[in-house]
Symmetry: C2
Subunit: 212 residues, 2 copies
Amino acid sequence: MSATDTYHHGDLRRALLDTALVLIGKKGVAGLSLREVAAGVGVSHAAPYHHFADKTALIHALGNEGMELLDAHMASAEKAAGDDPRARLLGIGMAYVAFAVQHPEYYATFSSPEMQTPPSAKEAAASDRTPGGTWVRLFNAVLACQASGDLPAGDPMVLAVYLWSLVHGLAELWRAGPLEQLPQASEGLEALAIQVLNAALGAMHTTEGSQG
Amino acid sequence: MSATDTYHHGDLRRALLDTALVLIGKKGVAGLSLREVAAGVGVSHAAPYHHFADKTALIHALGNEGMELLDAHMASAEKAAGDDPRARLLGIGMAYVAFAVQHPEYYATFSSPEMQTPPSAKEAAASDRTPGGTWVRLFNAVLACQASGDLPAGDPMVLAVYLWSLVHGLAELWRAGPLEQLPQASEGLEALAIQVLNAALGAMHTTEGSQG
DNA sequence: TGCGGCATCTTGACAGTGGTAAGTTGTCAG
DNA sequence: CTGACAACTTACCACTGTCAAGATGCCGCA
């Protein structure tokens, strides 16, 4: 590490983010200690404040990184699914769930209380508090499915919220653990998720079901 | 308050739980301070340790209370829905979402990191870490719907996980706020939730859609 | 009535945390 | 070579959870 042994670290910001991420993986975002992060990098406990205004700011930075990573995963999953709108939508949903499982440290930042509160007004402009890209991607996929007849012609907003809730809840239940306590689930959680998503999508294929 | 002004508080445990609940409502469970709770009750900062082994233990106690309350809400909603299995299932789902909105302090404890980790082995026996009652109730409602033909004959586990994920995700998205940023949603989030749940239930009425 | 035991509560201390202020060190333009 | 400036350190503050030891009031027993 050429830049690590000098007085000026070189890229301390990046190093802080990285070790913060592994610490979050171990103790969760609630148990994250800025001093421990600093010590892990080998730097004094006040050094992080020259790169992040706050502990919250660091978590926000990680959260935004995670959002971008998630959107990239979704984009590639959508692309890999080919041209079938239904397959693309399924790919997006599974990418969401899979991301939560494969990158629990990043995913943990999404639902952390620090991420719920908007950041400083300045930072708010640069970052998307609502996972805007993710939401737009999902919404467009729903519209495409409706256009092709793979989803009913109801309010796309309702359908999008429905699907978002589903994958979010699935990811949450999966991550939090209660799913593992179901006997059948332990065989293959991913298979169960695909089954559930397929059931949801396939079920809506033939009927509307909205009463509003 | 007759018992509050004596040296022995009378029911300090209850008082601690109550003011902890309102503090969680204000600052979230992550921002809960045991000392602040004690000060709010008008007692020294070490007093809580005679009623709770830990800060975690207090949160666990609140979480268990919330679970019981949630199950009670679900039970009454199920009862109020009458005999139609589908209406009962919808009632259960809406009760879950409504509980998260009407009792955000209790609901916050459910997904808190303190609640994710099992409590001391002794307490674990008395409390149900997985919301057992809730899950059983949902599962039975799914079985009833399948028996009456209101839900397809697929694996009830898949259906139950599907519905659980849906209401959990809906509650989470609702509570966390992103739903409010959708233009249409702000008109009536509850109506949207009912719409989504109805769409989910109604859609599954006619087809199976499982490929497993 | 008085006395001892005991749960309850208080005081005081400890380590660890986020955050700020002032000083130190290195780098780089002029 | 020198000054300015960013990066980093040291020292400190208020606050937190937690523990140990002492004070306080209640209750049963004589």
